[in-house]
C-alpha cells in the first residue's frame, strides 16, 4: 500500500476540543492508515508569519483515526506550526502528504498489548486500541489534559499533579503491569523521557516493545535525511524506517 504521490489539498471537515487539545478531522477519501503512521500537514493560507517568521516547513502529525473519508489528528499548540493548525476553522484548506511511515506491527495473539501513552503522543495508541484492542495506561500533565483519555476504552490514568488518576508517571502504572504480567507486549508513544523510561523497563523484564518516536522533520518521505535516530545498525530515518521502532534496536 503506497502513499499518493505529491501534496494534496483537503478541507477541515470537523474540529473539536478534547481537554487541552484540538481534534481536527480532514477530508481524505479512502486513506488506508496503519496505527502509528503520520501525515505532513500545512495550512494553505497563512503558513508563516508566526513566531520567528515561521512556520515554513510542514508538520508531522500522527493519525488519531481514519474513517468515512476523514482522517483525524490530535494537536497541541506548542509553537507556530501547531498554533496555526490548532486555529484552523471548518472548511479551511490544508496541504497534506500521507499516510507516511511504518506503523505498529500488530501484537501476537498470545500476548496482551499494553498501550503506554504520554500527552499528545496518544493518537497512535488510540487508533491501535480501536483496531486491535489492548490495555491503555496514559499519562498527562494535569486533569484538563487527561480529558483526552476519553479517546480510550477504560484507560488507567496518571497525572503529574495528581489532579486525575494516579499521581506520578505513567511508567509507575506500567511497572505494576510488568511485575505480574509475563505474556505482554508494550506499545508506547510519548515524550522522549517517557520512552526512555519504558525502554529500560521492558529491557529489564525482557518484554517486547515497539516505540513510536518523534524527530524534527523537514520532508517526511526520506528526502532530507534530517530526522535520524541512532540504532544498533546506525542512524535510521524516523520518517521512513519509523516512526515505530522495536525498542531493542534503539541505542
Amino acid at each position: 500500500m503506497t502513499t499518493p504521490f505529491g501534496r494534496r489539498i483537503a478541507a477541515v471537515l470537523s474540529r473539536r476540543l478534547v481537554g487541552r487539545y484540538v481534534v481536527l478531522g480532514i477530508g481524505d477519501p479512502d486513506a488506508a492508515v496503519e496505527p502509528g503512521q503520520f501525515y505532513m500537514l500545512a495550512a494553505v493560507a497563512g503558513w508563516g508569519g508566526g513566531g520567528d517568521q515561521r512556520p515554513y516547513l510542514p508538520r508531522a502529525v500522527s493519525v488519531l483515526y481514519a474513517r468515512h473519508g476523514e482522517v483525524g489528528f490530535l494537536l497541541e499548540d506548542v509553537g507556530p506550526g501547531t498554533h496555526r493548525l490548532c486555529e484552523l476553522q471548518l472548511g479551511e484548506e490544508v496541504y497534506l502528504v500521507g499516510p507516511l511511515g511504518q506503523g505498529f506491527t500488530p501484537p501476537q495473539a498470545d500476548r496482551e498489548a499494553i498501550l503506554v501513552g504520554g500527552g499528545v503522543g496518544i493518537p497512535p495508541l488510540a487508533m491501535f486500541q480501536e483496531r486491535w484492542g489492548g490495555r491503555a495506561v496514559v499519562g498527562f500533565r494535569s486533569a484538563q489534559h487527561a480529558d483526552a483519555a476519553s479517546l480510550f476504552r477504560d484507560p488507567a490514568i496518571a497525572t503529574d499533579d495528581g489532579s486525575a488518576g494516579h499521581q506520578g508517571h505513567v511508567t509507575d502504572l506500567l511497572d505494576s503491569l510488568l511485575e505480574d504480567g509475563e505474556d505482554i507486549a508494550v506499545f508506547a508513544c510519548g515524550p522522549p523521557a517517557m520512552l526512555q523510561a519504558v525502554q529500560s523497563r521492558v529491557a529489564r523484564h525482557h518484554v517486547p516493545a515497539q516505540l513510536a518516536l518523534e524527530a524534527p522533520m523537514a520532508c517526511g518521505f526520506g528526502a532530507c535525511f534530517g530526522c535520524v535516530v541512532e540504532t544498533v545498525s546506525g542512524y535510521k530515518r524516523v520518517c521512513v524506517d519509523g516512526p515505530v521502532f522495536d525498542a531493542a534496536v534503539l541505542v
Binding site: F5, L100, A218, F221, G222, A223, C224, F225, G226, E230
Partner: protein, 291 residues
C-alpha cells in the same frame, strides 16, 4: 527539449543534490514516482570515497522563511553507491548526474575515475563546498584551489563536469571563471549559506549536532539571484541556478538572469511533486509573457 552540456533534457527543472532520495521516495510513493518523476534529470546526493554516517542529530532547524541543515553528507561510499544505488537510479527515464565530494584533490580524482567508468552516469557534479584539510576553508572558496582541482580531475573523464560553487566566498564569479578556465563544462549554485541556531533555553548551546549548518529556502533566494546573475555574466558555460526556488516565477527569475537550468531543493520537502508543479508554472509563465 533543452540541451545541457550535450545532454538532452525534457525541461529546465532538476533536483538540487541531497534534497530528493529516489530510493526512499519510490518506497513511499511507489511507481507513481517513476511514472511522474518531477525532474528533467536526477542529481544524486553527494557521495564520498568512504562511507559516511553523517552528523549526529538534531540535523534540522527552521528559520525565517527557510531552514538550516547539518546532515553531514551521509552516504554509503562510492563502492556501494556504484554497486547498489546507481542501478536503481538508472530505472528512471531521466539522465543521471552523480555529485561527488573529496577532501583532497586525490580523493576527487579517485571519485571521478570510478564514476567515469559507468555509462549510466550522464554528468559529474563536483561539490567543492568542503573544508580543505590543510586550510580548513572550502576548496571552492578560492579560485586558485578550484584551478588546481580541475587541472587534476579534468583529464580523468570526458563526461561533463559541473562544479557546484560555494556561496560562502568573496567573489563567486571569479570562482566560476576559474572553473571555466580549468575546463568545467558547467557551474551550479548556490549551495547553502553557513549559518547557526541555538538550542531553545540552551544557554548558547548549538542546536545542530554539527554545531553549524547550511541555510536554504526562500530566505536565500535574493542572494542566489545576485550570485547566479554575477556568474552568468562572467562565464560562457551553462549555469545551473538554485536557491529558494518555490514557484515557476522564482525559477523564471533565475533563467532571466542567465541560468540554463534551475534546481529545486528545499521546496521538495514541502511538496514532493514540487518539481512538476514548478515546471508547469514555468511553462505558463513564459506563455503569458510571450502573449
Amino acid at each position: 527539449m533543452i540541451e545541457f552540456c550535450g545532454i538532452e533534457l525534457e525541461h529546465q527543472v532538476i533536483n538540487a543534490s541531497g534534497c530528493f532520495d529516489v530510493l526512499a521516495a519510490r518506497q513511499v510513493f511507489g511507481e507513481a514516482l517513476v511514472e511522474r518523476f518531477p525532474f528533467a534529470a536526477y542529481v544524486s546526493k553527494t557521495v564520498t570515497l568512504a562511507p559516511r554516517a553523517g552528523n549526529p542529530p538534531p540535523r534540522l532547524w527552521e528559520s525565517a522563511g527557510g531552514m538550516l541543515n547539518s546532515i553531514g553528507l551521509p552516504n554509503p561510499g562510492i563502492d556501494a553507491y556504484l554497486e547498489h544505488h546507481l542501478g536503481e537510479y538508472s530505472k528512471l527515464a531521466v539522465p543521471l548526474i552523480t555529485n561527488v565530494m573529496g577532501s583532497s584533490e586525490g580523493e576527487f580524482a579517485a571519485l571521478v575515475e570510478r564514476v567515469d567508468e559507468r555509462a549510466e552516469v550522464a554528468a559529474i557534479e563536483l561539490n567543492v563546498s568542503c573544508p580543505n584539510v590543510a586550510t580548513g576553508l572550502d576548496i571552492g572558496a578560492d579560485p586558485r584551489g578550484l584551478a588546481d582541482l580541475l587541472r587534476v580531475v579534468r583529464p580523468l573523464t570526458r563526461k561533463p563536469l559541473i562544479v557546484k560553487l560555494t556561496p560562502n566566498t568573496v567573489d563567486v564569479a571569479a570562482c566560476a571563471a576559474a572553473a571555466e578556465t580549468g575546463g568545467a563544462d558547467a557551474v551550479s549554485l548556490i549551495n547553502t549559506l553557513r549559518a547557526m541556531a541555538l538550542a531553545p533555553r540552551g544557554g548558547g548551546r548549538p542546536w545542530l549536532g554539527g554545531r553549524t549548518g547550511g541555510l536554504s529556502g526562500p530566505a536565500i533566494r535574493a542572494v542566489a539571484l545576485a550570485q547566479v546573475a554575477s556568474v552568468a555574466a562572467r562565464v560562457a558555460i551553462p549555469v545551473v541556478g538554485m536557491g529558494g526556488v518555490s514557484s515557476g516565477a522564482d525559477a523564471a527569475e533565475l533563467l532571466e538572469v542567465g541560468a540554463r537550468l534551475v534546481a529545486v531543493g528545499s521546496e521538495s520537502f514541502r511538496d514532493p511533486a514540487a518539481g512538476s508543479r514548478i515546471t508547469a508554472e514555468l511553462t505558463a509563465h513564459f506563455a503569458e509573457s510571450a502573449a
